[in-house]
Amino acid sequence: MSPGLDAAILMVSVAAGFLGALGGIGGGMLVVPALTIVFGVPLHLAIGASIVSVIATSSGAAASYVRDRLTNLRIAMFLELATTSGAVAGALLAAVVAPSALFVLLGLVLLGSAAQQFLRLGEELPPAVEPSPLAVRLELVGSYPDARMGREVAYSAQRIPLGLGLMAGAGVVSGLLGIGSGALKVLAMDGAMRLPMKVSSTTSNFMIGVTAAASAGVYLGRGQIDPTIATPVALGVLVGALAGARLLPHLSNRQVRRAFLPILVLIGLETLARGFGVGL
């Protein structure tokens, strides 16, 4: 790998990390299409590099959320049973699934994220319910300090089997595509288990690291984590994500969405087209 290409990959990774942090989707989903379509990096090496960058950004973000008591460690550990199993299965599957199918799946995930961004609802809390016996038995209840409301908010997990099933699916997608699949994890916690959004998104971020580590183990064993590609990608995405997280509080949701949605849709379509063998 020449120094020029190295520097170009570094810069594109910074951009992917930056945009990913702004859009709340993580850099992996953007870095895989960038590496394969722009630089012609083989798909599996791009996925291997991306999965490592996902671990870096998750570890950085999770470290601060855990201290703020937003992340629920028990809910995270319980659901990681499903995400890590799914991730290992996904990473093993990735070796036998045709690259064109992976491109199609990645394109669909990108467009799905765009739709989710578009439809994102308000910030109000899910209605409070009595904790179910299963939630109590599994200790999937808790509370977090909400800075905006200025009070402690109690919650308990609902529809636990459905949440666990969706998490296994999120793990498979993560292992297959080398992405954090944070959107799917949030969907499982916020949508299915009815946890408050802040708990869902920070717990999702916390889980992404270990989920990615499970599939990274498989990619590493297969020699698909190439240091000459993974190093600039991991460093670039991390720097971009840190910069994005700094900038985020100063932007309005509308500004972010207006800048981000067209990019997401464009890359989604481009990736889908690649899967169907059509160059755009």
Partner: protein
């Protein structure tokens, strides 16, 4: 171990792992610009330095899980010590079994 202490330890493990791996990756990348990826630094090729950084990075969340197993044992939460140990088992299996 108090819950706050537990959170502090988990957070510190994540930050520490990230700091060490980032330093190694940066050293590898800068070395690759100076002497090329196959060039020697500290007696090893730049790729080897970067590879160690990548392995530390991948190991960071695994270490976080290991620390959590110990944390739940110290909190005398047998259910979660078991659940966390199972997660550790799955992740270690992926690292050790696939070759």
């Amino acid at each position: 171990m108090s819950p706050d202490r537990f959170r502090w330890v988990v957070s510190t493990v994540l930050l520490g792992g990230l700091a060490v791996s980032t330093a190694l990756l940066l050293a590898g990348l800068v070395a690759s610009w100076l002497v090329g990826w196959q060039g020697l630094v500290l007696g090893m090729p730049a790729t080897a330095l970067a590879r160690i950084g990548l392995i530390v990075l991948i190991a960071t969340p695994v270490l976080r899980v290991l620390v959590s197993v110990i944390g739940f044992i110290l909190e005398r939460d047998r259910l979660y010590a078991l659940i966390t140990a199972a997660v550790l088992g799955i992740v270690l299996a992926s690292l050790l079994l696939v070759r």
